[in-house]
Structures are given as structure tokens and as C-alpha cells.
């Protein structure tokens, strides 16, 4: 068999496990689902397979259970006999053979049965009158006289059943016994045509279990049962399952019934009304309602929703029956099996039972020895007292039928055993409500202690038409009391002690208290049970104590185990798990069932800490240090050597300045003693070329003189340009001054004035205002030069006037003598550029020189600073001649043979250059010697 998989945790469990070993979840459902097959025992399936159920639907077509006479077994033809009955007969024959082999099996006179072959063998062999007591086991022999003696004075106070209540005639039919069960619910079977499954219908006015029981008193298993029963469908389509569910509910209700039965036991006092028929208590309980007051709460299970079999349970129906509920005798015993019917009739009013009532033969036998009333005044008592015809054990059952009400005063408990007295005393003294009976019963009767026949009912839910006690798990059903079922409850009555013979309880009732069984029913000395019986009680009793010692352990059906009180499961669970663990420390100290936290804590440890350091080798470390050093050196700045002190620097600066100034002053005071280099004045020299260009000017030729130098360099520029301007004045040229420098305009005027001054070497008289014009400041830099050099055309008749519309100084303006013939740049005969910067010279050479188109020579007089950069333009021919610096002026004076300012400054210039050269050279030498001295000093210090 495959393992059971826990629906909660998903782990596998042994197949026999009821709860999960890991999570304690219930592995098997409370109510077996039809699909599981648990609801139908194998024997039931076999019956279905045999067509019993199918052939006997509960339709109205089924013979009415009360319609006719119950056919006796002998009267049933073989062909019409149901299969299950046939199997029972066959099995009984087999059992008979087996018993015959045992040898000690009791023999029952065959003449007591009308049809011996139809009566179960064990019943058939029972001696009815005790004539053949030798064949009866000793325990049975002890039981019979004891029962007779004890039941004689016993009176039952059981008024519920009235003798005159008619007993509905049992009808024959294969499912008559079931229909009679349906009649047990106390309802009159109004419509016989109703299907037998309709016995599930109960009076709606009956309070439900929840209403009858207080919430706090309702056990869980009963609540679950209620929920199940309330959800049970009552539709006709599910009628096939109703009886199964009803039977389940019946088994669930069994404890209550048992308890009711126990309550029926007189505590210790003789009963007033002895059961007339001498039936066993459980049968009596089934038949008659207890003598509980009519106002007592009714059946715990709501009749309308409970399974029909529950509602049919006689005791429950009687307890829950309202006062208006008809007595049991009025209830037709439809559906009751014949033998039960016979028992019923024998128990109630046998004299009123119709003769030839349709009962089973073997039940008729029972009825026969229990039916004859012995004492007319007290029918029940007389019936019990005169119950000589019945078997002893059955009479014992009848004798011990408990009263349904409190015992009469004055009654004693002398004959009642202690354990039984406890039952009666508890029930009668406390006057417990009936509602609490089920729960108490559940507490008192654990599932293991239930009688086996009761436990066997549930897994072996009989099909309609199947006898209640027929069948077994494996389809080995041989009779209503097979070996397993029969021996148990019979054996339970075996160990009754001799002193408690009068109040022997039914076997299943006694089994509720195992200890009581052992104490209250020891076997009398010398008595020996037959082997076939002796084996069972020992097994039944010891199985609960000695689990698994060669004896098959009693196992409850799954559905019944699921219905056990939760305390049982929880208790076993608690003992098996660590929930018994008691917390020893912390805020939960002293509490049990606390989740073990310490173990979990100790399982964890601090996670390892991984170092974030980079693991490098020694070589890598050395290389890294080297790289770091190199990078650091690159970023470091070399600090400048600090000055030793400030005093020498100041002295040096003052000394240098004083030397230079003194030398220049002295050189100015003396005559020129330094001659001009011959190359400066030679043919082809720069000065000679300039001189030549000016010498070629015609008289009154317009010459454009551009004064673009700064005031700071005016001393050098004026010295270089003044001989050229004086030469132009000599040539009677019309000088037009223009400048791109703001200060150039003033410098131009100053240059003209100095050139015209005779003290500066001028040999002729030159009228500056009349012979010259100052166009002023040409705004716009290169743009203005481009506009100035624009050629004349129709749209620009006088570009020069357009560029310089308002000359700064011009006699008569553009229409004056100087400017009248000038319209464009090419109208000038010479353009002389006086500049000290490369930028201004380049602008003129780039913007104006192209417009000159080699028609107008461009002469440049520059400073010595700008000469090297303008000399390329001279080399390229863009500049016709260039004269630079003081040297160029001194050379031009030399050519013109008019010594002027250049000649005066030439000595000072040469002296100044010489002194500067000497100072730099001296300084270099001194510093070099100082460095060498310091190095040798350090070397000496290092050596020393």
C-alpha cells in the first residue's frame, strides 16, 4: 500500500498513520468520500456487484415492508431469496462445520426453530430451556439462572411504551429490516409507498444538536458531525448514499446510544418495570425510548438534517421526541429486520403482536422464548420473569435493561457491581441533561473501547436489504453474527462475575470500561470458555494494553477515528512531539509548546568577514611604490632658490641704472667719437635706397606720410624719420599726414614742426600749413585702410575723401592746394610708412600696397624693434625701401650730409649698448664663477 501523503506538509506517512508524523495534520478525512470507497465496504461493493442493490431499489415498487406477512425463511423460495441471505446461509453452514470441529460449541435444540436451516447456527444451537445445559458453556449457564434470579424482583419504571400500542405488522421484503429501521425514528409511516430511504425525514420541529446542546458542552467531534449532517443532501437523487451516511451517523451517534443504554441501567436499585421481553439492553434501547421526561431536549442531531439512520436510531428518536411524538409501539416497524422485529415485538407487547408476524425465523425463535408473558400484572416483569424460554444470555440482557428513569426509592445497589453502580449513580444523581450525553459518552467511551460490532457497522455499511450485522470487510460475510462480530460482544459478557450476574450489562457496554471488565467479570474458577469464545475476549481486552504483542491490535475505522474526540489525538500528539518541552529561559519561561529558538540560534554563526585588502606580492609592492614616487616627483615643483638678501639686488639695480644714465649723459655731452659703419651709407644700402626714392620725387609731388607709432617710441622713430621728412621738405613735396593711431595725429604735427625747425638741421624754409595737410585719425583699422585704398570709379569718385571726409588740418580742405588733386591712393607719388609695430605695417602692406600696384613706391621707416619683421616685405619687393632705427637715421643723415638728432644720439646709443653688453657679460661670468665656487665648496664639504 502506498504511503499516505500529508495534504499539509506533503510528506509521506505510513499507510496506517492517522495523522501526519511531521505536522500532525489529519491524513484521512472525517467522512470518507465516495470516491475513496471507504463509504462502502468491500462486502457492500460485492453486493452491488452482485446486483443486490441494483435489483432492489428503494422505489415504491419495492414490496411494502408492512404490507404483508414476513416470509419465513422456509417459505422463501430459493429463487426469490436474496443473494445476501444466501451467502449468509452458506457462511453459517461453513461456520457450523467449523464449530463442529471445535467440539465445544454449544448445541441448540433444533426443534426450537421452525426452520433450522434458516436460523443462524449459533442461535439455533442455543438451548432455550436449559435442558441441555451440558452443551452450554459454563458462563452461559451461570448467566441464565443469575439473570432469572436477579430479574425477578426487578421492576422497570419504563412507562414510555404502552402495551396497547399496536405494533405495525412487519412486511416481508428483502429490505424490510431497513425499512423497519426507518420506522425507529418514532414517526408513523404514513405512506407505505414511500421509498425506504425516506425514513431519513424527521420532524423539522425537532431541535438540532446545536440548539439542544450548549455551545461549550458540544464536543468538537459532534460539531463536525453536525456540520456534516447538516450538509447532507436530502434529495432523492442521493438516496443511494443516504443510508450510508445515515449509518455513519448512526455509528457516530452510537456513543450516545450507549450512554443512554447505560443510563437505562438501574444504578443500584432494582427496576420497577422489568423489560418484558428480556431483550438485551441495547435492543431494548433501540426499541423503546427512555423514560426521560417528555420536555427533555430532543435528539442532539437535528432530524431534518441528520442522516436518516441517525434519526432512526430508536434511542435518539425517543430522547428527542416531543411529547406529541407517538410512542414507539405506534411506529410501524417497517424496514426492521425480521429478527429485530421479533425482538421488538417480544419486548413490547407480545400478546398483542399479531400472530404470524412477518419476522425472520431465527428472530422468531428469539421472540418465542421472550414473547410469552409470565406475569400479567406487570407485563414486563412477568415477561422477564417468565422468560424461561429464551436463552439465558438473552434473558440476562433483558434483565439488565436499565430503567429509563430514576430508580425507585429504597432500592439498593447491593447486587450491582461497583463499576456499574458508578454508572448508574452518576447518571441518576446528577440528572444530567440528555444533551450532554453524547459528549460524556465520548469521553467515557473512547473509540478503542467501542464494541467491535459497533465499529464494524460503520466500515461495513450495509446496503439496503442487507442485514445489519451481516458482512465483513473482505466480503466474507457469512451471517448476521460472524466470528468477529459475534464473539466480541458475546465474550464481553463472559467475564461477568458471579456476584454481578443480576446486572450484567451487554457486552459492548461493558467494554467501555476495560478495567471494569477485568474486575467485574472475572471468570469463575473452574469455568472454561470454549476456545472459540475464549480467544476473542482475551484479544479484545488485552489488545488495548498489549499493543502489537502477537495480537492484532484493534483498529478503528478511519471515519470513526476521525470522529474521535480531539483530546485523544492531541494527547497522543503532544506526547510524541516536542511540544512537551518547557521553555526554561526568556520571557516565555515556563511555557510549553514554545518553538525552540535556542537551537535555531545556535545553528547560526557570525558570517565570516572577508578582508577588503588587496593581496599584493612584495614585487608588486615595490613596483607600486616606484610608480607612486615617479608620479609624485612629476607633480612636485622645484622651489626657487631663495635670495640671500634684498640689499645686494637693490644695490645692483641702482648701480646698473646709475652707470647707464651716467654713460649716456657723458656720451651726449661729447662729440660723436664713434663713426657710422660704411655699409649703412653705401650704395645699395637701405638708407641709400630711401634717399634715391625721395630724390626722384618731382616738385610739389603729393606724398602720403603715415604716422603709426606710439608716443613712447617717438624718440627713436622721430630720430629715424626726421631726416627723411627734412629731405621731403627739401624736395617741396606736399605732405599729407594720416595716422591709424589716435596719438598719431599729434605726433605727425610734432614731426612736421620739428622737421621744419632749423635747429633740427632743416636747411630750407617749409611752410607746414600751406604745404602739408593732416587728414587725421583713420578710424577702423584695416577696414579703413581698405576703404582708403579703394580705387576711384563712377560710384566712388574720390575714395580718399570718402575715407577721410573731414581732414584734421588741410588748407582749403579737399579742395585746397594740397588735397585738390588727390582723389585716390594712387594719386600720391610716394607713400612713406612710419611705424614701430609689425601689425600696423602689415595692415598697410596688405590692404594698401596692393592698391598701389607698384605705381607708387612704398617706403618704410621703422623702429629697430620692428625692422626684422618688416624686412621680409622689403625682400619681397612690397616695400621699396626701408630705413630702421637710429642707425638708419644716422646713415640717412650721413647721406644727406646734414647731421641732425641722430648724430647727436649716436654716441649715447653706442655707449649705452656697450655698457649693457658689458654688464650682461660681467654678470654671466660672475654668476658662473659663483656656481662653480658653490659646487666645489659642497664637494669639499662632502669629502671633508
Amino acid at each position: 500500500m502506498a504511503d499516505l501523503r500529508c495534504p499539509m506538509c506533503g510528506k509521506n506517512n505510513p499507510p496506517q498513520a492517522e495523522t501526519c508524523q511531521y505536522c500532525q495534520a489529519r491524513l484521512k478525512s472525517v467522512t470518507p468520500s465516495p470516491s475513496e470507497g471507504g463509504g462502502e465496504a468491500d462486502w457492500l461493493r460485492d453486493l452491488r456487484d452482485d446486483g443486490v442493490l441494483g435489483e432492489q431499489p428503494q422505489a415504491p415498487a419495492t414490496p411494502a415492508p408492512f404490507s404483508g406477512q414476513e416470509p419465513t425463511p422456509g417459505s422463501i423460495p430459493e429463487g426469490e431469496m436474496p443473494d445476501w441471505l444466501s451467502r449468509i446461509r452458506q457462511r453459517t453452514s461453513v461456520e457450523e462445520d467449523a464449530l463442529s470441529q471445535i467440539g465445544s460449541a454449544p448445541k441448540i435444540e433444533e426443534d426450537l426453530t421452525t426452520a433450522g436451516e434458516e436460523v443462524p447456527d449459533w442461535l439455533r444451537d442455543l438451548p432455550l430451556d436449559g435442558s441441555d445445559s451440558s452443551s452450554i458453556p459454563a458462563w452461559m449457564q451461570d448467566v441464565r439462572p443469575t439473570t432469572e434470579e436477579s430479574t425477578a424482583p426487578t421492576t422497570f419504571s419504563q412507562p414510555a411504551i404502552e402495551p396497547e400500542q399496536p405494533v405495525a405488522p412487519a412486511t416481508d421484503g428483502n429490505d424490510a429490516w431497513l425499512q423497519s429501521l426507518g420506522a425507529w425514528d418514532g414517526q408513523p409511516q404514513a405512506d407505505e409507498a414511500l421509498p425506504s430511504q425516506d425514513f431519513t425525514s424527521l420532524p423539522v420541529e425537532e431541535p438540532s444538536l446545536a440548539e439542544a446542546l450548549p455551545a461549550e458542552e458540544t464536543p468538537d467531534w459532534l460539531k463536525s458531525l453536525e456540520a456534516e449532517t447538516t450538509s447532507a443532501p436530502a434529495s432523492a437523487a442521493q438516496d443511494d448514499q443516504d443510508w450510508i451516511k445515515a449509518l455513519e451517523a448512526l455509528s457516530a451517534e452510537t456513543p450516545s446510544t450507549i450512554e443512554n443504554t447505560i443510563q437505562d441501567i438501574p444504578p443500584a436499585t432494582p427496576v420497577e418495570n422489568e423489560h418484558p421481553s428480556g431483550l438485551t439492553d441495547f435492543l431494548h434501547t433501540l426499541e423503546e425510548p427512555p423514560s426521560a421526561p417528555a420536555e427533555e431536549p430532543s435528539l442532539p442531531v437535528e432530524a431534518s438534517q441528520a442522516p436518516s439512520i441517525i434519526s432512526d436510531w430508536p434511542v435518539s428518536a425517543e430522547q428527542a421526541a416531543p411529547p406529541s411524538t407517538p410512542p414507539l409501539d405506534h411506529i410501524p416497524s417497517a424496514g426492521v429486520t425480521e429478527w429485530l422485529d421479533a425482538l421488538e415485538k417480544a419486548e413490547t407487547t407480545p400478546e398483542k403482536a399479531p400472530e404470524g408476524a412477518p419476522t425472520s425465523d431465527w428472530l422468531k425463535d428469539i421472540d418465542a422464548f421472550s414473547a410469552p408473558p409470565a406475569e400479567p400484572p406487570a407485563p414486563r416483569e412477568s415477561a422477564i420473569a417468565s422468560d424461561d424460554s429464551g436463552p439465558d444470555w438473552l434473558r440476562d440482557f433483558g434483565n439488565i435493561s436499565p430503567p429509563l428513569e430514576t430508580p425507585l426509592p429504597g432500592q439498593t445497589n447491593e447486587a450491582v457491581p461497583d463499576w456499574l453502580t458508578a454508572f448508574g449513580s452518576e447518571d441518576t444523581a446528577e440528572e444530567l441533561p440528555v444533551e450532554s450525553a453524547p459528549s460524556e459518552t465520548r469521553d467515557i467511551l473512547p473509540a478503542e473501547s467501542l464494541p467491535e460490532w459497533l465499529r464494524a457497522i460503520e466500515p461495513q455499511q450495509p446496503a439496503p436489504g442487507t442485514p445489519a450485522f451481516a458482512g465483513s470487510d473482505e466480503g466474507k460475510t457469512v451471517g448476521p453474527f460472524s466470528e468477529e462480530e459475534t464473539s466480541t460482544w458475546i465474550s464481553s459478557s463472559e467475564p461477568l462475575p458471579a456476584e454481578t450476574e443480576a446486572y450484567e450489562l451487554p457486552a459492548f457496554t461493558v467494554e467501555t470500561e476495560e478495567g471494569a471488565i477485568e474486575q467485574a467479570h472475572p471468570l469463575a474458577e473452574g469455568e472454561q470458555l470454549p476456545d472459540w469464545i475464549a480467544a476473542e475476549p482475551s484479544t479484545a481486552v488485552e489488545s488495548s494494553e498489549e499493543n502489537g504483542e502477537g495480537i492484532e491490535q484493534a483498529q478503528l475505522p478511519t471515519w470513526l477515528q476521525a470522529m474521535r474526540p480531539l483530546e485523544a489525538a492531541v494527547q497522543s500528539r503532544a506526547t510524541s512531539l516536542d511540544e512537551e518541552r518547557i521553555e526554561k529561559s526568556g520571557p516565555l519561561a515556563g511555557m510549553s509548546g514554545v518553538l525552540p529558538g535556542e537551537e535555531a540560534v545556535t545553528q547560526y554563526r557570525k558570517p565570516p568577514i572577508y578582508s577588503a585588502r588587496l593581496r599584493v606580492s612584495d614585487k608588486q609592492q615595490v613596483l607600486a611604490n616606484l610608480l607612486e614616487t615617479v608620479v609624485a616627483e612629476e607633480t612636485m615643483t622645484q622651489p626657487l632658490q631663495a635670495e640671500p638678501n634684498q640689499a645686494p639686488q637693490v644695490i645692483i639695480r641702482l648701480l646698473v641704472g646709475v652707470v647707464l644714465i651716467a654713460a649716456l649723459i657723458l656720451s651726449l655731452l661729447v662729440k660723436p667719437f664713434i663713426g657710422l659703419p660704411k655699409g649703412q651709407t653705401a650704395v645699395g644700402s637701405a638708407a641709400n635706397q630711401v634717399f634715391k626714392q625721395i630724390e626722384e620725387l618731382p616738385a610739389s609731388a603729393p606724398v602720403l606720410v603715415v604716422v603709426d607709432y606710439e608716443a613712447g617710441l617717438s624718440g627713436e622713430m622721430k630720430t629715424a624719420a626726421l631726416p627723411v621728412i627734412q629731405h621731403l621738405m627739401t624736395r617741396k613735396a606736399r605732405l599729407v599726414m594720416v595716422s591709424t593711431q589716435p596719438v598719431g595725429v599729434v605726433l605727425a604735427e610734432d614731426l612736421l614742426k620739428d622737421a621744419a625747425t632749423p635747429d633740427r638741421g632743416s636747411a630750407i624754409t617749409f611752410s607746414v600749413p600751406q604745404s602739408s595737410a593732416n587728414l587725421g585719425y583713420l578710424v577702423g583699422g584695416a577696414f579703413s585702410l581698405r576703404e582708403l585704398a579703394a580705387p576711384m570709379d563712377a560710384s566712388h569718385p574720390r575714395p580718399l575723401q570718402s575715407a577721410l571726409p573731414a581732414p584734421l588740418r588741410a588748407d582749403g580742405g579737399w579742395d585746397g592746394l594740397v588735397l585738390k588733386s588727390l582723389s585716390q591712393i594712387t594719386d600720391f607719388k610716394r607713400v612713406i610708412l612710419l611705424t614701430d609695430s609689425i601689425e600696423s605695417g602689415r595692415n598697410w602692406l596688405e590692404q594698401v600696397q596692393p592698391a598701389l600696384a607698384k605705381k607708387v613706391p612704398l617706403l618704410v621707416v621703422s623702429s629697430a624693434q620692428a625692422a626684422p619683421l618688416l624686412q621680409p616685405f622689403q625682400s619681397s619687393g612690397q616695400v621699396n625701401a626701408m630705413l630702421s632705427g637710429l642707425v638708419g637715421g644716422r646713415a640717412y643723415e650721413e647721406i644727406t650730409r646734414r647731421p641732425a638728432a641722430a648724430s647727436a644720439y649716436w654716441n649715447a646709443y653706442q655707449v649705452g649698448l656697450g655698457i649693457a653688453l658689458l654688464l650682461i657679460l660681467l654678470g654671466g661670468i660672475l654668476m658662473s664663477l659663483s656656481a662653480l665656487f658653490n659646487r666645489s665648496k659642497k664637494q669639499n664639504q662632502a669629502k671633508g
Binding site: 605726433l747 604735427e749 578710424v779 649693457a916
Partner: protein, 205 residues
């Protein structure tokens, strides 16, 4: 692209002026002349704006609540005085010109004289502060060219071979000056092309 309109205008005008240099079409020359006239006016106005900005800057410095700059006050005073004399007398007045020549020319000439002395002292201490090959080369070149500029070597008759060496040494600055001019020319050409192609947009802010 920032300032697309300005860029388009700049490129269009640059191309038009460039075509005026290469294609002698009167229409293009007229347009070129017109645009150059506008540029001159804008440049003149920019000079005026520069002068106004200079005065305002010094005015702020002179009128600052803290750290009054007395030189700014002098600048503003000199500007106002010169502007007033120029407006009153005119730029061609000898007195106005004498103001400039008596102040500006001696001041700038004195600065050039101080520069000459400072350079001499620096040359004297060159090897003291910076010891190295370049310092030595700089010092030697200065000495050589000072001697050459002084005319001592050119005045004397040192013979043909030596005279040729002097001429060779005198041409070395000319070579360097040509290189500088060529570099300036290439730089100007590149800058012009970048403006024409829209790579440089100095006018876009």
C-alpha cells in the same frame, strides 16, 4: 546651432567680400565697398563705446563705497580735461597737441628707458637665477646682436670672410621674422576659413 541667422549672415558677407577680391565685378565691388563702409562705422562706434565703458569702469571704482581708487579718479579727471580742451580748442590746436606731447610722450619714453635698464639687469642676473643651456644661449645671442646692432662689427673692415659671417648672422633674425609672418598668415587664413564655414561663430556670443 546657436544664432543660425547671424551665422548665415556672417558666412554670406564673408563669401561676398572674398568674391570681391577674386572677381572684378562692379556690383560685387560696390557691395564690398558698402559693407566695408558699414564696418568702419561700426568700428568707430565701437571705439566710442570702448571709451565710454572705460570711463564708467573707473567711475564705479572711484565711487565705490569702499576701496576708493584714486587712480580712477585721476583717469576720469584727465579724460574730462582732455575731452574739454579737445572740444574747445580742437585737435589741431598747438596748445592741445602740446598737452599730449608734454605728458604722453615723456611718460611712455621713460617707461621704455626703465625697460631698457630692467632688461640689462635681467641679463646680468640671468645665470644666477636660471642655470641652463637656454639661459646661456639667450645670453650669448643678446651679446652678439647687441654688438651687431651697435655697428662695431659693421663699421670695421673685418675682411671678406668675416664680413660674410656677419651678414650671415645678421640674416638669422630675418629668417625668424619670415617664419613668424608665415605663421601669422596661415593662422589668419585658417581663421577666415573657419568663419566662412561656420566652424567659428565669435559673433554668436
Amino acid at each position: 546651432m546657436r544664432a543660425p541667422i547671424a551665422t548665415a549672415i556672417a558666412i554670406a558677407i564673408a563669401l561676398l567680400i572674398l568674391l570681391g577680391y577674386f572677381i572684378p565685378i562692379p556690383l560685387i565691388a560696390d557691395v564690398q565697398g558698402l559693407l566695408l563702409g558699414w564696418a568702419v562705422i561700426v568700428a568707430g562706434f565701437a571705439a566710442l563705446v570702448g571709451i565710454i565703458n572705460l570711463i564708467l569702469v573707473h567711475w564705479r571704482r572711484a565711487t565705490a563705497p569702499t576701496n576708493h581708487n584714486l587712480y580712477s579718479v585721476l583717469v576720469i579727471a584727465a579724460f574730462l580735461l582732455t575731452f574739454a580742451i579737445g572740444v574747445w580748442f580742437g585737435p589741431d590746436d598747438p596748445a592741445f597737441q602740446q598737452v599730449i606731447l608734454a605728458i604722453q610722450v615723456p611718460a611712455e619714453a621713460s617707461l621704455m628707458a626703465v625697460l631698457a635698464v630692467t632688461l640689462t639687469v635681467a641679463g646680468l642676473r640671468l645665470l644666477q637665477r636660471r642655470k641652463g643651456t637656454l639661459a646661456v644661449v639667450f645670453m650669448l645671442s643678446a651679446l652678439v646682436y647687441l654688438l651687431l646692432a651697435s655697428g662695431l662689427f659693421t663699421a670695421a673692415d673685418w675682411g671678406s670672410p668675416l664680413q660674410e659671417i656677419f651678414h650671415l648672422v645678421d640674416r638669422l633674425p630675418l629668417a625668424g621674422a619670415r617664419g613668424i609672418l608665415l605663421g601669422i598668415a596661415l593662422g589668419s587664413l585658417t581663421a577666415g576659413l573657419r568663419v566662412i564655414l561656420g566652424a567659428d561663430r565669435p559673433y554668436s556670443g
